[in-house]
């Protein structure tokens, strides 16, 4: 026994006390910080959960297949009728057009900045992208409105003008997020590809974009989520309408945020005495149901993004 015992029992005691006497102050700080972190998380979750809860509770009363499949044509006063079908289609068409416009521009700009951009031009592009990120959405709307006034005369209201306004807002977000994702692709993979005698453009398409496709999808979906809820620029560029319109190049187009705004702005409906199917606050109910629809669309988009990420992200086993 004594042969394996190192040092005297006195030294062992010293070491033991050194190793076991934890720093009281440090433990206290640790507890406080842990509580703070959890507290901050709870506080951040509170408005989010409350918001979702309010939207679901208020929206559920009128959210049904009927609401999703009819327009507001011929609906007036406090009639218990009408839906958001035209607004859903409008939102989808306008957002799709905005994405078609901004994803190629944004993605190619990001590729330029990461793979080619050097010197003053790249710095200028980065600077203007940053400036564009801060443009208020109503200004983007006015810009698109003014732009199309040149071609179509004043007062033109089309879905495509709204799409242009939204793409002004969307492009900088797409550039920024895609740039970050492309930067994450290890340089070693580019070099490995060059060393196999693969030209730069094929390396970018088949290695850089392919490796980062999951991140790119997430970034683009974030940009879509950023613009799908815009109200002001769509209101002044696509106007409002009660009827269904699939064509962004012809006539006005409704969208969900504008629909919500319009329903809310109409306020309490006046019902005549004895009118049976009249609900005074039907407009608010429709607004909430449309809000729920919008939240669900964004959620579905996110879900689709998750699936794409799962399919395309690099696998280990």
């Amino acid at each position: 026994m004594s042969a394996v015992t190192v040092g005297t029992s006195d030294e062992t005691e010293q070491i033991r006390s050194l190793l076991t006497s934890g720093d009281k102050g440090r433990k206290r700080t640790d507890r406080i910080m842990t509580m703070l972190v959890y507290g901050a998380f709870g506080l951040a979750m509170l408005p989010l959960v409350s918001l979702l809860w309010t939207v679901v509770v208020n929206g559920a009363s009128k959210f049904n297949p009927y609401f999703l499949s009819v327009t507001m044509r011929g609906v007036f006063g406090g009639m218990d009728a009408g839906g958001a079908y035209h607004a859903i289609i409008g939102t989808l068409v306008i957002t799709l057009c905005a994405s078609v416009l901004s994803v190629p521009i944004g993605l190619l700009t990001a590729v330029y900045l990461v793979e080619y951009g050097r010197g003053p031009l790249a710095r200028a592009v980065t600077f203007f992208v940053d400036v564009m990120t801060g443009i208020p959405s109503i200004v983007a709307g006015l810009f698109a409105f003014a732009l199309f006034t040149i071609f179509l005369g004043p007062g033109a209201k089309l879905g495509i003008i709204a799409a242009v306004a939204l793409s002004v807002l969307m492009i900088p977000v797409v550039v920024r997020s895609c740039e970050e994702m492309l930067k994450l692709v290890p340089n070693e993979l580019r070099e490995a590809s060059y060393a196999l005698g693969v030209p730069k453009w094929l390396t970018i398409i088949k290695i850089v974009l392919r490796t980062s496709v999951a991140g790119l999808t997430t970034g683009i979906l974030l940009a879509v989520a950023r613009v799908i809820g815009e109200t002001a620029p769509i209101l002044i560029t696509a106007g409002t309408t009660d009827s269904l319109n699939f064509n962004p190049f012809d006539d006005r187009m409704m969208s969900l945020p504008v629909y919500i705004y319009r329903q809310y702005a109409q306020g309490v409906a006046t019902c005549r005495d004895g009118q049976l199917d009249c609900i005074p606050d039907i407009n608010y109910m429709r607004a909430w149901a449309a809000a729920l629809t919008l939240v669900l669309i964004v959620m579905l988009l996110n879900l689709a993004g998750r699936l794409v990420t799962r399919w395309f992200s690099p696998k280990l086993r």
Binding site: E188, A195, L196, I207, R210
Partner: protein, 259 residues
């Protein structure tokens, strides 16, 4: 298959900074040439000029000539992409493409260049390349699994298989074993001995025993001080470099007195 490389008065720059100065050497075909020297002396930089990977870095350029069988790789009509197909490269850290399976990694050089290849030819190429890299028996049952699921040593051999699948004349290896354990290192060293029957091999290594074991000729690079360019001090048969070098610096380095 294998071809010789003549380097004449090569200066290598990163922007204005001269990293390597005045290198002239001849690399013999079907042999293994090792580059040794302290960190930062420009071995890897020089290696990367042999397949024009150096100029991938912005601002990097060279003066002088690198001739492959008499053709200057830096001539005006030479396509750097074609150079890299002729002179393959294996990197320090194994870098299989993470989105590809083992099979796709081996075929990367063909597939990434949008070349059509029939299924049987592809199968044949995959098996030949993986056998060439001594990896076939370990992975033949899981060719469709991701390449990044292999061990470090297997990944490095996969990268060698990928490099030889494009049938280069020369294979450059930049410290291929520095991230590997001794057993994987042994596997790669054995492989280098096999590969030299068909390819001209140039290997950068920090491991002098490795240089002594695998190479036929050894070049010693050194640097006079921080901020100064690296130079080729001496190049000779490996046995001579390690037993009777003509330069004092070489002797100090190989005997472990500095560096």
């Amino acid at each position: 298959m294998a071809q010789r490389i003549d380097v004449k008065d090569l200066n290598i720059y990163y922007g204005d900074f001269m990293a390597v100065q005045g290198v002239s050497m001849t690399i013999e075909p079907k042999s293994v040439t090792a580059f040794i020297g302290p960190s930062g002396c420009g071995k890897s930089t020089f290696l990367r000029t042999l397949n024009r990977m150096h100029e991938v870095i912005p601002g990097a350029h060279v003066e002088g000539s690198v001739e492959l069988e008499g053709v200057d790789l830096y001539g005006p009509e030479v396509d750097p992409v074609a150079v890299r197909r002729t002179v393959g490269m294996v990197f320090q850290r194994p870098n299989p493409f993470p989105t590809m399976s083992i099979r796709e990694n081996v075929l990367a050089g063909v597939k990434l260049n949008n070349k059509k290849i029939s299924k049987t030819d592809a199968d044949d190429l995959v098996e030949r390349s993986l056998r060439g890299a001594n990896l076939w028996n370990e992975v033949k049952d899981r060719l469709d699994r991701p390449g990044s699921g292999l061990s470090g040593g297997q990944q490095q051999r996969l990268c060698i298989a990928r490099a030889i699948a494009v049938r280069p004349q020369v294979l450059l290896m930049d410290e291929p074993c520095s991230a590997l354990d001794p057993i994987s290192t042994l596997a790669i060293e054995d492989l280098i001995q096999e590969l030299k029957k068909d390819y001209t091999i140039v290997i950068v290594t920090h491991n002098m025993q490795q240089a002594a074991r695998v190479s036929d000729r050894t070049a010693f690079f050194n640097i006079a001080g921080t901020g100064k360019p690296g130079r080729l001090i001496e190049m000779n048969d490996t046995a001579t470099i390690f037993s009777a070098p003509s330069e004092k610096a070489t002797e100090d380095y190989v005997s472990g007195r500095f560096g």
